[in-house]
């Protein structure tokens, strides 16, 4: 008995191969489209901005002369902002994730919290800006300070950190817990000695990607009233500040062509910082990741 009718297969084969080829090309062009756009963007920014990139650009304050304009205040402001946002959002985010995954009992309330966190990740950033303006700037009277900006940014990226930390914790095999509990360890001992070391690569990768988002955001900071011109460096978290994206945004809106080129230079610096942060995330993941 002939189980397979070779003739039928023969007939259908060419059609299948064509289909396969077609799909191959389709997915390739989907990938290529993104890459081409990225290359065009990078080429434009680099060709426009590289000419202006020098030490003076990094060490000058903003100026009405494009050739003297620099981003000193903006870079330092961005770093200050990160210095507030990173610890606050990481501590709160990882704490929330551990509580939800390890301690909280599964009931309606935790499901409600869980759902809200996922939803918060999709709220437009300008809404967090409004929240920051009412709560931090006005209600808590922090003024238009780095503290207010940093806390607003923390809120913005908190949901992302919580969700990615939860994923990282959930990925740890159950038998690791069981082994720890079998040795008589308490929950906290298990979390500290087993869960966190195993989950830290995932948590930090998510955290750094979230911080990268925060460093590129403009809208919420404009909302809370971050400044556009300052010619001094902030000395504590209560100072006024400006950040790189605001400075870039400001330059692109100017009538003078030269300022658009300066904006491109600013974008290059921002890109380098972002690449630097992302590569830290990659290094952490590769260095600490354990396979089970």
């Amino acid at each position: 008995m002939n189980l397979v009718d070779k003739q039928v297969i023969q007939n259908k084969m060419s059609k299948r191969l064509v289909k396969n080829q077609f799909m191959n090309k389709l997915f390739f062009s989907a990938t290529a489209f993104g890459i081409v756009v990225l290359i065009v963007l990078l080429y434009r920014v680099l060709s426009e901005g590289i000419g202006h990139l020098d030490w003076g650009f990094l060490t000058n304050f903003a100026s009405r002369f494009p050739e003297e304009a620099g981003i000193k205040a903006a870079i330092v402001g961005s770093l200050w902002l990160m210095a507030v946002t990173a610890p606050v959002s990481l501590l709160l985010g990882i704490g929330t994730a551990i509580y939800l995954e390890e301690y909280a009992s599964r009931n309606k309330f935790t499901r409600f919290i869980q759902m809200n966190i996922s939803n918060l990740a999709g709220v437009p950033s300008i809404v967090f800006g409004l929240l920051g303006l009412t709560v931090f700037v006005r209600l808590l009277e922090m003024g238009r300070s780095i503290m207010a900006g940093g806390l607003t940014m923390s809120l913005l990226i908190l949901p992302i950190i919580v969700v990615s930390s939860q994923e990282a914790i959930r990925a740890i095999p159950k038998n690791q817990y069981e082994a720890s509990f079998a040795m008589g360890a308490t929950k906290w001992q298990t979390v500290r000695r087993v869960v966190l070391p195993a989950a830290i690569p995932g948590i930090l990768t998510g955290g750094i990607l979230a911080l990268s988002r925060a460093i590129g955001e403009t809208a919420p900071l404009l909302m809370i009233g971050a400044l556009s011109f300052i010619a001094y460096l902030p000395e504590n978290v209560w100072s006024g500040f400006t950040v790189l994206p605001i400075q870039i945004f400001n330059w692109t809106g100017r009538p003078q062509e030269e300022f658009h080129l300066v904006a491109s230079t600013g974008i290059i610096v921002l890109l380098v910082i972002l690449l630097f942060m992302n590569s830290i995330a990659v290094i952490i993941r590769n260095k600490f990741s354990k396979r089970f």
Partner: protein, 320 residues
């Protein structure tokens, strides 16, 4: 066990609150520059219009270089956003590319904030068409009203004036949040609705590109954007109140010949803040140098005598 964890949680939240509160006290000491007699802080808070920003940035740059111990902070929240902060008492000086509105005046009065208006420079709203457009020689305000309003019934250039080509016009306008839009609608549209098919953008450079790219386009924006793109745009002379068609230029805007589209740019200063030496000095410095700085960044200076009048007013208000 349960109660213990509850106490721990409560304790932690208390600690967090306490920290926040401490932070507060410090914060209000250092960063809140309300201007009431705080002579030690030397912090000047400015916010408002993005149109006025380049002038104030230039002034602040120079002032800061001469007075390193004073800190000038300038934000860009837009004319309306700036007034909101001015009303809340968060700023000393508010930049605006339009006069203050009645409701904003009322709010300021409610909060007991007295202020003085100064004109720091002039801007000429420039109406431009594509370089290839060889038929438009001049436009009247009535024609503009007909063209830009929703119920004006204009579709093509032929609808505006007979003899012009039968080609569909493309409209480019600044976004409804900008002071430029406010001014244009007040002068041209009065209370009418702007046409729905106009392309609106908050970024004036997008408008420049729009008109440059469409042979039948028309748009309007601040003089600086025209002056920077003179080679790619054709500016339309506008018939003024004396019946003459005038192009915007440094001279015609300053003299007021280019009307009704030459508009003043304002700063609003809180009177009380002028008692503070650094705000007083900065305001004086602004009025002394605004003309020159305005020219440097693409705007037009007011006649010298106007600045002198304004300076006298500042001295009077400060009681000096």
């Amino acid at each position: 066990m349960k109660s213990k964890s509850l106490i721990l949680t409560l304790g932690m939240s208390l600690l967090v609150l306490l920290l926040a509160a401490c932070g507060n006290a410090e914060g209000s000491k250092n960063s809140e520059g309300n201007g009431d007699g705080e002579k030690s802080t030397k912090e000047i808070m400015v916010d408002g219009s993005s149109t006025v920003f380049p002038i104030m940035e230039a002034v602040a740059e120079e002032y800061q270089a001469a007075n390193p111990d004073t800190r000038v902070n300038i934000g860009v929240s837009g004319s309306g956003g700036g007034f909101e902060k001015f009303v809340a008492g968060e700023t000393h000086i508010s930049n605006a590319s339009r006069p203050i509105k009645e409701e904003e005046k009322a709010l300021l009065e409610e909060n007991g904030i007295e202020y003085t208006e100064f004109e720091v420079a002039l801007d000429g709203l420039s109406i431009v068409v594509n370089k290839e457009n060889d038929w438009v020689d001049q436009l009247t305000v009535e024609e503009l009203t007909k063209m830009w309003s929703e119920d004006g019934g204009v579709k093509t250039w032929a609808d505006v004036r007979e003899g012009w080509p039968d080609k569909e016009i493309e409209f480019y306008s600044p976004g409804a949040d900008s002071g430029t839009f406010d001014y244009f609608s007040e002068v041209v549209l009065e209370d009418k609705q702007i046409r729905q098919d106009a392309s609106l953008s908050e970024d004036d450079n997008v408008l420049v590109q729009g008109v440059t790219g469409s042979p039948n386009g028309i748009g309007y924006f601040g003089y600086a954007y025209y002056a920077e793109n003179k080679d790619n745009l054709k500016v339309v002379p506008i018939v003024n109140s004396d019946g003459e068609a005038v192009k915007p230029s440094q001279e015609t805007i300053q003299s007021g010949e280019y009307n009704p589209f030459s508009r003043p740019l304002f700063i609003y200063v809180k009177n009380e803040a002028l008692q503070n030496d650094s705000v007083y000095e900065f305001t004086k410095y602004t009025l002394e140098n605004a003309g020159e700085m305005a020219k440097a960044v693409g705007y037009v200076a007011k006649p010298e005598s106007k600045y002198e009048e304004a300076l006298k007013k500042v001295e009077e208000l400060a009681g000096k």
